[in-house]
Symmetry: C2
Subunit: 329 residues, 2 copies
Amino acid sequence: MAATIKDIAQRTGLSLGTISKYLNGGKVREKNRLQIEKAIKELDFHINELARGLKTSQSKTIGIIIPLLDNYFCMNLMSYAEKYLSAFGYSVIVCNYREDPEVEKEKISLLTQRQVDGFIIVPSGETVDEIRDLCGRLPVVLVDRLLPDVECDAVVINNAEISFQVVETLIKRGHRRIAIICGPKRMTTARERLDGYLTAFSKYRLEADRQFIRFSDYYLESGYRICGELLDLPLPPTAIFATNYDITLGVIRRVNEAGLRIPEDLSLIGFDNLPFFQVLTSEFSIVTQPMEEMGEKAAQLLVDRLNGRSAAARVISLKAELVMKHSVS
Amino acid sequence: MAATIKDIAQRTGLSLGTISKYLNGGKVREKNRLQIEKAIKELDFHINELARGLKTSQSKTIGIIIPLLDNYFCMNLMSYAEKYLSAFGYSVIVCNYREDPEVEKEKISLLTQRQVDGFIIVPSGETVDEIRDLCGRLPVVLVDRLLPDVECDAVVINNAEISFQVVETLIKRGHRRIAIICGPKRMTTARERLDGYLTAFSKYRLEADRQFIRFSDYYLESGYRICGELLDLPLPPTAIFATNYDITLGVIRRVNEAGLRIPEDLSLIGFDNLPFFQVLTSEFSIVTQPMEEMGEKAAQLLVDRLNGRSAAARVISLKAELVMKHSVS
DNA sequence: ATGCCAACATGAAACGTTTCATTTTTTGAA
DNA sequence: TTCAAAAAATGAAACGTTTCATGTTGGCAT
């Protein structure tokens, strides 16, 4: 149905090779160029990237695999990665594995079949072997989380450091009963953020109280539930550090329901999503990840590798920031 | 490098045709099936979807074109569309045109080259001709906004109706100076939401005041700015209807800065993103679009059409809901 | 005019599948 | 056992490109 290179060749009386050369930016005699351009217009010719990809074994396509799509972090990541990649002619196929490692595996396999040229993955942490294999075959960039014994490019943030800073700030302001709500234990992010917490406590020669250390998944409901548990303790915490956006929302909701005020009754340090926090009246601080930069860097690492630059695996660690309420424009 | 069907054929001593038949679910003699499966394992064979697509002229790929990626509405749309589509074996290529109609055109063309089997588009409204053309060639589903003289499937919400309901509620509560902050004038959503506003006023035989009717783009900053302008009026509104999520955020921020309380000093009805609003302490109501359903329906319309079902263009209008604060679980 | 060289054009083969008309094998009823 | 019909396998052609070794041209110096 659609016009092909052959039709252009026929109509111009030129050969396939010439048309192909023109389409790929090669030199072509002036009068031929005009003819070709005319034919392309008239036939509304679009090159078939499937055929091209088959021949060149490059699909010019990147697979992005993420645990959640309706999630502030992931959407920012995608947004900026897509922007960078499309400037280099790559399209993005998006795969949402809904936190299900089995689906994650399927998606990896699916994208392999689709001949993507590379991957950007926010891994579940339970598909280590599959991703290790993958790295051997194709360029892969991990984002947010590292995997044990997987050597590949990655973009992460200084989790331990920023967490230390958060807790130190709280300690300096006199807090002693400080709770932290982490993500799932198996994730490096969760463990690192906890490390920072513990380091701060030991630096100030304080004893960390295990009942204030909670693991969860990264959902609003967990934040809500765990916050409730914390508030119900005989001696509840005076400060809570919520380590992602959804947990933060859950905590706020629970605190509101309990009729407590922030920061008068409870201090809170939250995570992510600046626009949201700018709008709240309660006074609390948040940790912001440079999500745009993370997306962009991930894309950049990938493009570099696709272009054959960079040999050894590079892990880029970006700096998260502790933003005090109203210190933001 | 990677194993192909040929390698499988060679290793099993069978012919290409047989392998292909097996891969496509055809019947194959038991002992051959075993051999084939063994060879596939051993060679780590993955079918090359590029080659398959070239031959079948079906890429099993859908293009989703949206104005913004880091946007709650679009993310939800994508999320649910992807979920539905992937159940039917379709992958999703995502294109963000950053509200730039020129980029939108390029993306349409790019995806055409990539041989996508269909499109889901949230159009800018300024590429009517291109999209009309496109509809003639491929299945297209429009989401959120319709286009003049473009006959194709679409999923929208009852904008006028819900807007009427919002304004009527406000009027019944005694408000007379009611402001509405719409999106860009050229968009059907903005115009329809205004229509509902005007209808409510005329039903109650009230005169609509043009200074309370504002158009903007759909960004937080505009909400912020326009809210400021409204508050600075000699007789400012007593209620504001913000017609999308980001505008709502902007309004809240401006209102907070002005030291006004909601709803004591100003009533506000906002839009979208339930989780966020559940967390606020101020009392106000919001309009929620059934985003999940929109994404799913869009995907469903598309799949139906790809399967040759459904002849005439179908426009599905879903119901947005007015949710009163605390009436939500 | 002649010959040469660079610049461009040509056309067949290849990429990894599917398809389909043919041929081969299997099955089971007589 | 035989044979026809059913079931399965075969292999060549095709999908729309790119590539590359070979052929053809035009322009320039002699």
